[in-house]
């Protein structure tokens, strides 16, 4: 079911324009159409929709959204099917380089040239970018062979090239773990995964299926302290870190390799957000949003990794559908849900999205904890809600559904999210 990628006529005005056709953009389009928005434009810079999913060829996606365990490309296909059914204009190979404060969107593509469209509402679904070497200031030379894990993933999975022959991976985030397995299966020697923290920052499932299965050592509380080589990486120096995360150089050792992959975190791609001068949450790096994912600029919404870094595409789709629906509602002049309550991160909570709640509609609060609790944990939303869960770890997103009923009778203006060991409360 191929869809026409270039619409026959680019309209001059749209109800909803969605920047990015990855999992967030695709879900936002569904949300917007199902609320009745008619003219919807979705724009993506790649030759085909799907976003980052097209290079995430591993499974583990869709357990919640489609009730099956599928790979990234399959998830993209299933999400795209829903969009195609709803007759949305999709422009690929097209960039949004600028959005003015009155929501005039500037598009660039070889087919369509440089043009502008006006839109009643905008959904920013541009995903995330990877933290680079400069972000953590790895000292040493700057030879070829130091690459982010996501770029290596693209090279291997889309284009059929290997980043090198003997690789060290810094960072035990999911991308690093996935690439450890991927590279091993493609004949690259993966000498080890090194993680600054005392625990893996990716999902446990990936530690087992990507490292244990292939006997790839995971060195916790260890980091890379030097890179050697003039033209190409020749070796790296690694060292254990102390409780303050300071490298103990007297215990450092060298590893001969030709590749250093960096899987040291994702950051929301906030270029458009900055251009529009949206208020950003320094904890997430993404925009501050209402319960319907609307940013500080009316009519501009944010969803997916652009808003906060997610662990599962399923959460992205859920959140983006809400954003798209609200963008559709706005374009049709419907009433905006009143934002009555501010939500803040409390004990052991890193951040909370969205930043405000409505007493008029249901919404989902998503958050991540700062430190793991390997045992029964009490989650609190102020005094209005609590739930016991088996364990919480930073890599895994936690959600709380908040209905108007839950907030019924709540007279305050702030609710705090806490994640506390259950045994502490029982005392």
């Amino acid at each position: 079911m191929p869809i026409t990628a270039q619409p026959r006529h680019l309209l001059s005005r749209y109800d909803v324009t969605i920047v990015g056709a990855g999992p967030a953009g695709l879900a936002a389009a569904v949300g917007a159409r199902d609320q009745g928005a008619e003219r919807i434009l979705m724009v993506d810079r790649d030759p085909a929709p799907g976003g980052i999913l097209l290079q995430c060829i591993h499974s583990g996606f869709g357990l919640h959204t489609f009730k099956k365990d599928v790979t990234g490309p399959e998830y993209a296909h299933l999400a795209l099917e829903q969009v195609v059914e709803r007759d949305v204009d999709v422009l690929t190979n097209t960039y949004v380089t600028d959005v003015s404060r009155d929501l005039r969107v500037k598009l660039m593509s070889p087919e369509a040239g440089i043009s502008t469209v006006d839109t009643a509402s905008l959904v920013i679904a541009t995903g995330a970018r990877e933290r680079t070497r400069a972000a953590i200031k790895i000292p040493g030379q700057r030879p070829a062979g130091v690459m982010t894990a996501g770029l290596a993933q693209k090279m291997v999975n889309l284009h059929g090239y290997l980043p090198g022959r003997r690789a060290v991976i810094l960072g035990s985030g999911d991308i690093g773990l996935i690439m450890a397995r991927r590279l091993t299966l493609e004949g690259v020697e993966v000498l080890g995964v090194f993680e600054l923290l005392p625990y893996a920052s990716g999902l446990g499932r990936n530690v087992v299926q990507c490292l244990h299965d292939y006997d790839i050592p995971l060195h916790l509380s260890t980091t890379v302290v030097d890179v050697h080589g003039h033209q190409r990486v020749e070796k790296v120096t690694v060292a254990p870190v102390d409780d303050d995360r300071v490298p103990q150089l007297d215990k450092a050792w060298d590893i001969e390799c030709d590749t250093l992959l960096l899987s040291i975190g994702l950051i929301p791609d906030a270029e458009l957000a900055r251009q529009l001068e949206l208020q950003l949450d320094p904890r997430t790096g993404g925009p501050i949003v209402s319960s319907t994912m609307e940013t500080s600029m009316p009519g501009v919404f944010s969803a997916g990794n652009n808003l906060h870094i997610n662990d599962l595409a399923d959460w992205v789709s859920m959140e983006a559908e809400v954003a798209g629906a609200a963008a559709g509602d706005l374009a049709l002049g419907r009433h905006r849900a009143r934002q009555d309550v501010t939500v803040t991160p409390g004990r052991n909570v890193n951040y909370v999205v969205p930043h405000t709640l409505s007493t008029e509609r249901s919404q989902t609060v998503s958050f991540r904890v700062k430190e793991p609790i390997y045992g029964d944990t009490m989650l609190h939303l102020g005094d209005v809600y609590q739930r016991k869960v088996r364990a919480v770890v930073p890599p895994e997103m936690v959600t709380i559904k908040v209905s108007p009923k839950l907030l019924d009778g709540f007279a305050g203006d702030t609710l705090r999210v806490d994640a506390i060991p259950a045994e502490e409360e029982e005392r």
């Binding site: 593509s109 040239g113 200031k137 030879p143 070829a144 290997l162 493609e186």
Partner: protein
């Protein structure tokens, strides 16, 4: 690549000095070859420094480096006009934090006046903070020198070299000089024979502009009487969101060995802090260090308290080729035809255009005939900077060439047409593209554009992707799988066609 021809001038070194000299010589009917050790010009000392065209106050007029400073400053401004690289005349604010420093900076200003530097002013603390409100409140006063500029030295040097090439100079890259034949005792006027790893070149004159390796080259020519030792300077680039935190180059009061840590608003809108000044053993040691970073940020905060490591987006280290006299070593030697242009540390970059003219004069004195071309055009078509154009200008370009509507670097808004133009101007490595266009220098540091740039480089050079390099031989970026279908035997490849 080389042949038996005897050239007029061989220039060893394609950095600021070699490139400006090549262009200066291209005015005349001469056969000039520029030999660069690395994969592209400007890949050595010239690409890794603070990128400042100095106000010309600081260096003593008793030194050669001091004498060439101001003419060099004017020279770069003329070159900018002719060739179109970025150059911002931001001026210098030389800051004093105590009374002793106030005296010292005024001495520097007076030296500048003696050197003929126009427009300098002595500012009170109040005036200084008025001009640069993000400076430390501890400032006691400053000297304002409006002649200072910032530029991207790699961009400028690459355009100068390309201008030389368009005017007939041969640029030969990946030419590491390994030998210079001894003089011919029978024929003192015989040309010099310079041997590189792959080629043999002959020239009536050889100019040693070999940067860090100028002493090694002089030794090969049999006339070593100086030493070059590397002095490393680490630099840190801070996020564009800090753009405007300072609007001139902020200098601390200098010490005897170093100009100190500067806070410098680059032409790209980033802020650069650094450099350090650390003598190292290894002429290839461009590593950045924890200690260097700590020192830079501690010093930078003394001038601009809001500077923070959190904003680092990139870092690098350059090596200054310092001679044992601490001044330039320029001039003819005992070897007929062999001219030195060595020890070009700060303000060497600033002085380069003036040094080039000096070298032309020296060559003429040594017997090089200078016959001016009647058709020499100093200007060249300026490169397009798409990101800086208005929407209407961008649309006009895109209508004339759809490759202006194809983005390659999303962070810096760089189009395919600009990448292709950079390749026409000599880029054949990923770094070559980066330094000419800024592709890969933005927030994502090449995460997105690396693939697009590699494809364009591969296509332009007719090479497979695994042969595309970051900066020349040995710096491959990706390698082939073991089962590339082109290289496996046909019978091994199972082809599957499925119903579509």
């Amino acid at each position: 690549m080389s042949d038996d021809r005897v050239r007029d001038v061989l220039i060893i070194g394609g950095g600021a000095v070699g490139a400006t000299l090549a262009r200066a010589l291209s005015r005349f009917h001469l056969d000039v070859v520029l030999l660069e050790r690395q994969a592209e010009v400007a890949f050595g000392v010239s690409k890794a420094n603070s990128g400042i065209v100095h106000s010309a106050m600081h260096a003593s007029p008793d030194t050669l480096k001091g004498k060439l400073e101001y003419p060099g400053n004017l020279g770069w401004r003329r070159l900018q006009d002719e060739l179109g690289f970025g150059l911002n005349n931001v001026g210098e604010v030389l800051v004093a934090l105590d009374d002793e420093q106030l005296v010292k900076i005024e001495q520097i200003r007076q030296q500048g006046i003696r050197k003929g530097i126009p427009g300098t002013q002595a500012w009170t603390a109040e005036r200084t903070l008025d001009a640069q409100p993000n400076l430390t409140r501890d400032v006691k006063g400053a000297v304002w020198a409006p002649t200072a500029c910032v530029f991207n030295p790699y961009e400028a040097v690459m355009l100068v070299a390309d201008a030389a090439r368009r005017n007939g100079v041969t640029i030969a890259e990946e030419q590491r000089v390994i030998a210079i034949d001894p003089p011919d005792v029978e024929d003192p006027d015989a040309p010099l024979t310079v041997r590189t790893e792959t080629d043999v070149w002959r020239g009536r004159f050889v100019v040693n502009a070999a940067g860090l390796f100028a002493d090694d080259i002089a030794e090969l020519a049999g006339v070593l009487d100086f030493d070059i030792f590397p002095r490393k300077g680490e630099e840190y680039l801070l996020d564009k969101r800090l753009s405007g935190i300072v609007t001139s180059i902020i200098f601390p009061c200098p010490s005897p060995i170093s100009k100190g840590t500067l806070v410098n608003p680059t032409v790209d809108g980033t802020i650069m802090v650094g450099p350090t000044a650390q003598t190292v053993d290894d002429k290839y040691d461009t590593s950045t260090t924890e200690e260097g970073a700590a020192q830079v940020f501690a010093n930078a905060r003394k001038l601009v308290p809001a500077i923070s490591e959190r904003d680092i987006i990139a870092e690098f280290a350059g090596l200054r080729p310092v001679s044992d006299t601490e001044d330039f070593i320029v001039g003819p030697t005992e070897r007929r035809g062999f001219i030195n242009a060595a020890g070009i540390q700060s303000p060497g970059l600033t002085g380069a255009p003036a040094l080039a003219e000096l070298l032309v004069d020296i060559l003429a004195d040594e017997g090089l005939e200078l016959e001016e071309k009647t058709d020499w055009d100093p200007t060249a078509r300026h490169p397009v900077k798409f990101a800086h154009l208005s929407t209407e200008e961008q649309q006009a370009l895109a209508r004339s060439d759809p490759r202006f509507a194809q983005l390659v670097c999303r962070c810096e808004i760089i189009t395919e047409a600009e990448i292709r133009d950079a390749m026409d101007r000599g880029a054949h490595t990923l770094d070559g593209l980066k330094f000419r266009t800024r592709a890969g220098m933005g927030r994502c540091q090449g995460g997105f554009c690396t693939w697009g740039c590699m494809q364009l480089l591969a296509e332009h050079q007719g090479i497979p992707i695994p042969e595309v390099t970051k900066r020349g031989t040995g710096s491959w970026i990706v390698c082939d799988r073991d089962d590339h279908p082109v290289t496996t035997a046909r019978s091994d490849a199972t082809t599957v066609r499925t119903g579509g």
